[in-house]
């Protein structure tokens, strides 16, 4: 007997292109067109993996994307991809594949002890174990299970490949290019509308590629496929996508496709992405997803060499591979007879076709009998024997009442099973389509959907080829609008689908509690697990799913769901339609993470916003920090300085001479129009009517719930024009909130809002020397203390460049914010910098900015406030206008709860030890020895070492804080005694405010 299982005269692989690849380090020969599974099967190798939980030896059970067993890792190093289905991975020269979940090798595996321990790993094992003593889980079970069970290993290095993302629109998207899909695409395409046809396989044709029996218009099915594809290729309005899986059906007909472009190539063209996600918005979708043959559930049904009948047919007809020498066929459906006939013709010895049904009598059954194939009606498999390969099965008689008698054991190296066909409903369910249970077929079929979607062919229970082609063509034409010619084909030879099929566990003799009859191969869930779950009280199919994990593996229950449902239905003695089906979730098949990330990785993960002086800051050795999307200079260390040293120096220089700071990230909005002042009055808690042109005011924004939302200085540039500033992070939110009230509440106001954040660059020049430095630069503008006091605003030019000059301060020093067009800010910055050199002008960053403002007790929204602080809580009650009839937050701010004396209020905090800097977030409690759980009196919101005070300072929110000045509280620490602190006024430096008016 030949050692190869490859047959000449069969298959679609290219015999002129032999290919060698490595499997577990050893060379394997195959041909172009093979999958890893077909090439291994051609060598007679079924063992391809170990199971998830019990480490059982496993071989392929299918020939496609529904494969639960033969999962392999492909590629090396950073390009290694785990958990790929060997039944789908196309071989090419140099491909490196490995088996998974075996210790140390595929054939010798120590993890197999899990099988012996199987009585201790029942359904709900994880949940039950969680209830054991906590330490037991951490120290004993979890590490053991982690090592012993699982799938492949993900690579740890970054993915070196590139991935694409493409948005597309079409009139008709056809998912699946079997007979129904091809017919639909052609019918739609011929009307001229835009069509996209996609299929997960490298070739179009689906089941027709494995069908050597049917004749369409007098030609073999595969030939009809070639002819139809050629016809489609001629249509310029039709886009054909192979190796492309529709994996997610989103709302409003947005379907995501995953196209695999290079994995099947020995060397990929330069610049081609490995995979591409297509986001297709389709007016209409035709689902032609086909159906999947169901495995049968019997003891030992997971032994290598036990396959779906349709899979064995595919290995023969597409790959020219015979899966064994001597087969038993176990069926409850007519389709397996055609497989038996073809396989016998190809040289396979069929020991018998065991049929669960009492009277199989269709034409194909008669044909099988006529060809000398032994048919055993009313027969089941009691048990399959063998370890690395099935070696024998016990065929046992089933009586009319379902009792199983004593059978006889027959030897075989192959078992072909056929439980009937399950329509693929995944995408229909993702489209939130209803399901209807079909009693005659014993399966769920697609019902109505809210989306513009229709199913065609066997995914809606239409199985006969002539009916499938007609169904597909009608679906395609209707999806295209219904106008046009319906293509018609004549099927001149085909098998009629018979009635039958089976779901659930096959009948067996004796108790099944020790039998490993697998329902979900990938997650190692057995029939007894499902029954146990029901006995333990789980009646909802969704609960059974989670408790047993059936259907939760990466195959999404493609082969297991209907069998699990039938077992639950039988155990509960409740009709399947009363049990329901679990929800199918995307993705239909696993998708590489890299494809989802696409270009959004590394530098392209997020946009980076650069302030105008960013280049200058880099040239001057700044250390940066991210503030939202902005990159901001945090401090400017000199040689040998750490952050504290640099910040201490920067702060001292600002208070002593002057500092320069890029404040361009401040949010800026221009509020313009005849009703601008009225708009400001309604939007802010402050009053604006009396603010004169050329003056500034600190403004606070609340939500209508009364809590502080944002703040910033506002300048009145003209009677009808306000220059509003916001926090760096709040800019977009404030503008959105302004637009919301303007457009939806205050349609009576004539106001325009414009974001000017990016238009105006801002140089903060702060310190006692600021005026001296600036005065010579502003083209004669009078900025003397008399002409331009604190909180004044002037328009002018600086070296000929337009300028809005604000005299404002976030440091407590005499200061200016010089607003100039962003594109020219660097010129101005350089000029100010040069002019400041004789005065000792120092650049400072965000860290010093924080320290300087904290020394002055200025709050930062989002740091002191947390969405529950009122203006009064943070010491800004003075800003609330008493005379305005209404403003955002007015009603809420009058509520008693928002004025309670024991609310958290902003206070200063000093530690006894002046060198100890509190942690931000520390809690404050009344006594040093308080144990958790204890209620806190408050918490630290800001904490720094203050160069001006030469000691630590902090700001806190404390219950009734303002009336507790001088009180002692304690900040507990985990590893040391609580820190004793005293509550003080939050203005630590220059409390009279003299310096700002200098």
């Amino acid at each position: 007997m030949s050692k190869t299982f490859r047959l000449s005269g069969y298959g679609r692989v290219d015999r002129s292109r032999p290919v060698t690849f490595l499997f577990d380090g050893k060379p394997v020969k195959g041909y172009a067109g093979d999958t890893v599974a077909s090439a291994l099967l051609a060598d007679g190798r079924h063992l391809m993996g170990r199971s998830f939980k019990y480490h059982r030896p496993r071989g392929p059970v299918s020939a496609g994307s529904d494969e639960p067993n033969a999962l392999i890792g492909v590629g090396e190093g950073a390009r290694h991809t785990p958990n790929l289905r060997a039944t789908q991975v196309e071989v090419h020269e140099g491909l490196v594949a490995i088996s998974q979940n075996r210790l140390p090798s595929l054939r010798f595996d120590v993890g197999i002890v899990n099988t012996l321990a199987s009585p201790f790993l029942p359904a709900g094992f994880y949940y039950k174990t969680f209830m054991w003593p906590h330490g037991f889980w951490d120290k004993v079970y979890e590490p053991l299970i982690r090592r012993a069970s699982g799938l492949g290993k993900a690579p740890t290095a970054p993915d070196p490949d590139e991935y694409g993302l493409h948005y597309a629109h079409c009139d008709v998207l056809v998912a699946g290019a079997g007979p129904a899909g091809l017919a639909a695409a052609l019918a739609a395409g011929k009307t001229g509308v835009r069509v996209i046809l996609c299929d997960e396989n490298p070739e179009f044709g689906g089941a027709l590629l494995s069908d050597s029996h049917s004749l369409i218009d007098g030609v073999a099915a595969a030939q009809w496929v070639a002819r139809t594809v050629a016809e489609l290729e001629k249509l310029p309005n039709v886009q054909l996508l192979t190796r492309c899986s529709a994996f997610n059906y989103g709302p409003h007909n947005m379907v995501a496709l995953n196209q695999r472009l290079t994995d099947h190539l020995a060397s990929a063209p330069v610049g081609m992405p490995r995979e591409r996600i297509w986001q297709v918005r389709a007016k209409e979708v035709v689902l032609a997803a086909g159906s999947l043959e169901r495995p049968l559930v019997f003891e030992g049904n997971d032994r290598p060499g036990i396959l779906l009948a349709s899979a064995a047919r595919t290995y023969l007809q597409r790959y020219g591979v015979l899966c064994g020498r001597k087969a038993v066929v176990m069926t409850a459906d007519d389709a397996a007879y055609r497989v038996a006939i073809e396989m016998a013709e190809a040289g396979l010895k069929i020991v018998a076709v065991a049929d669960l049904r009492a009277n199989p009598d269709s034409a194909v059954v008669a044909e099988a009998r006529a060809r000398g194939i032994k048919v055993l009606p009313s027969t089941t498999i009691q048990r399959a024997h063998g370890h690395y390969r099935v070696g024998a099965v016990e065929l046992a008689p089933v009586s009319a009442d379902g009792a199983v008698g004593k059978g006889r054991t027959v030897s075989c190296d192959l078992v072909l099973m056929s439980g009937g066909f399950t329509p693929s409903l995944h995408l229909h369910c993702q489209a939130r389509g209803a399901l209807t249970y079909d009693d005659k077929l014993g399966v769920y079929l697609p019902g109505d959907s809210v989306e513009h979607v229709r199913s065609a062919g066997s995914c809606r229970g239409v199985y006969a080829l002539d009916a499938v082609l007609r169904d597909g063509a009608e679906a395609g034409l209707n999806a295209a609008g219904g106008e046009g010619d319906l293509p018609v084909w004549t099927v001149t030879r085909q098998d009629q689908p018979g009635e039958g099929g089976f779901a659930g566990a096959l009948p067996r003799r004796g108790p099944g509690h020790l039998a490993l009859a697998f329902v979900d191969f990938q997650n190692d869930v057995t029939a007894k697990d499902v029954k146990l779950a029901v006995r333990e009280g789980f009646q909802s199919i969704e609960h059974v799913k989670r408790y047993t994990t059936t259907g939760m593996a990466t195959d999404q229950g493609k082969s297991s769901n209907v069998n699990a449902l039938a077992i639950v239905s039988k155990t509960l003695q409740r009709a399947p339609q009363k049990v329901g089906l679990t929800t199918y979730r995307p993705p239909y098949t696993p998708v590489t993470f890299g494809a989802f990330a696409s270009h959004a990785r590394g530098d392209q993960f997020d946009p980076l916003r650069l302030a105008p002086a960013d280049g200058w800051a880099r040239a001057h050795g700044a250390v940066f920090e991210d503030v939202g999307l902005w990159r901001r200079a945090r401090y400017f260390p000199r040689a040998g300085e750490d952050m504290l040293a640099a910040v201490t120096r920067e702060c001292r220089m600002v208070r002593k001479t002057a500092g320069i700071f890029d404040a361009s990230t401040l949010g800026k909005i221009e509020v313009v129009g005849p009703d601008a002042a009225e708009f400001m009055n309604r939007f802010y808690i402050n009053g604006w009517t009396k603010l004169g042109v050329g003056k500034c005011r600190y403004g606070l924004v609340c939500r209508d719930n009364g809590f502080v939302y944002d703040d910033g200085v506002v300048g009145r540039v003209a009677k009808d024009r306000f220059h509003v500033t916001t926090t760096t992070g709040g800019a977009a939110g404030v503008l959105n909130m302004m637009e919301d009230y303007l457009q939806t509440e205050w349609a009576d106001l004539d106001v325009w809002l414009t974001s000017i954040t990016e238009e105006w660059g801002v140089i903060a020049l702060q310190g006692p020397k600021a005026r001296e430095i600036l005065a010579p630069l502003v083209d004669g503008l009078d900025i003397s203390a008399e002409a331009m006091p604190h909180m004044f605003l002037k328009e002018g030019t600086i070296g000929g460049i337009p300028m809005r000059l604000f005299r404002v301060s976030f440091t407590g020093e005499l200061g200016y914010e010089i607003n100039v067009p962003s594109g020219r800010m660097r010129e101005v910055w350089d000029r100010v910098w040069a002019a400041g050199q004789p005065h000792g002008l120092t650049p400072y960053g965000t860290e010093s900015m924080h320290v300087l403002r904290a020394e002055k007790g200025y709050l930062i929204v989002g740091q002191e406030t947390d969405g529950t602080a009122t203006p009064g809580d943070v010491g800004c009650g003075w800003a609330i206008s008493k005379i305005k009839p209404d403003f955002i937050g007015k009603k809420a701010l009058a509520l008693p709860a928002l004025n309670a004396p024991d609310r958290l209020q902003m206070v200063g905090v000093l530690t006894d030890d002046p060198h100890y800097v509190l942690e931000e977030g520390m809690q404050l409690v009344a006594a040093p020895q308080m144990q958790a759980p204890a209620s806190a009196d408050g918490h630290i919101t800001s904490s720094y070492f203050s160069p001006a005070l030469n000691r630590s300072i902090a700001i806190a929110m404390v219950k009734g804080g303002r009336s507790r000045m001088g009180a002692t509280l304690y900040a507990p620490r985990l590893d040391a005694a609580a820190v004793r602190v005293t509550l003080v006024d939050p203005v630590f430096y220059d409390p009279e405010g003299a310096r700002v008016n200098g």
């Binding site: 709302p251 959105n736 919301d740 939806t744 209404d886 009603k891 809420a892 509520l895």
Partner: protein, 97 residues
């Protein structure tokens, strides 16, 4: 991703829009009772069925508008401008209809 029809720009993908919550909630003045104010701030229908809701074409024309959407199916029944009355589309349907 939803397909949303801005009354000013036409149909665009959901990522261009920001959601604005239930529509047709009138903001009362400060003269109302505390209960009425709390109701305005916090109480929403949580409709199962056709909901009138606000959207803003934030990454487009910037305009707010209203839409009727069936929360069970995400199907939009109507798009209309701020200030227009709720179109007489199916009123809130019963549960599970």
């Amino acid at each position: 991703m939803l397909l949303i029809e801005c009354p000013y720009c036409g149909p665009r993908a959901e990522i261009e829009f920001s959601y604005g919550g239930e529509a047709h909630i009138d903001r009362p003045g400060p003269e109302v009772s505390e209960e009425e104010w709390a109701s305005f701030l916090y109480l929403r229908e949580n409709t199962k069925g056709v909901l009138a809701e606000r959207w803003r074409h934030a990454h487009g024309c910037g305009r707010f508008f209203n839409a009727l959407r069936d929360t069970r199916t995400d199907e939009f029944k109507a798009f209309y401008e701020m200030g227009e009355k709720r179109p007489d589309a199916e009123k809130k349907e019963g549960e599970g209809a």
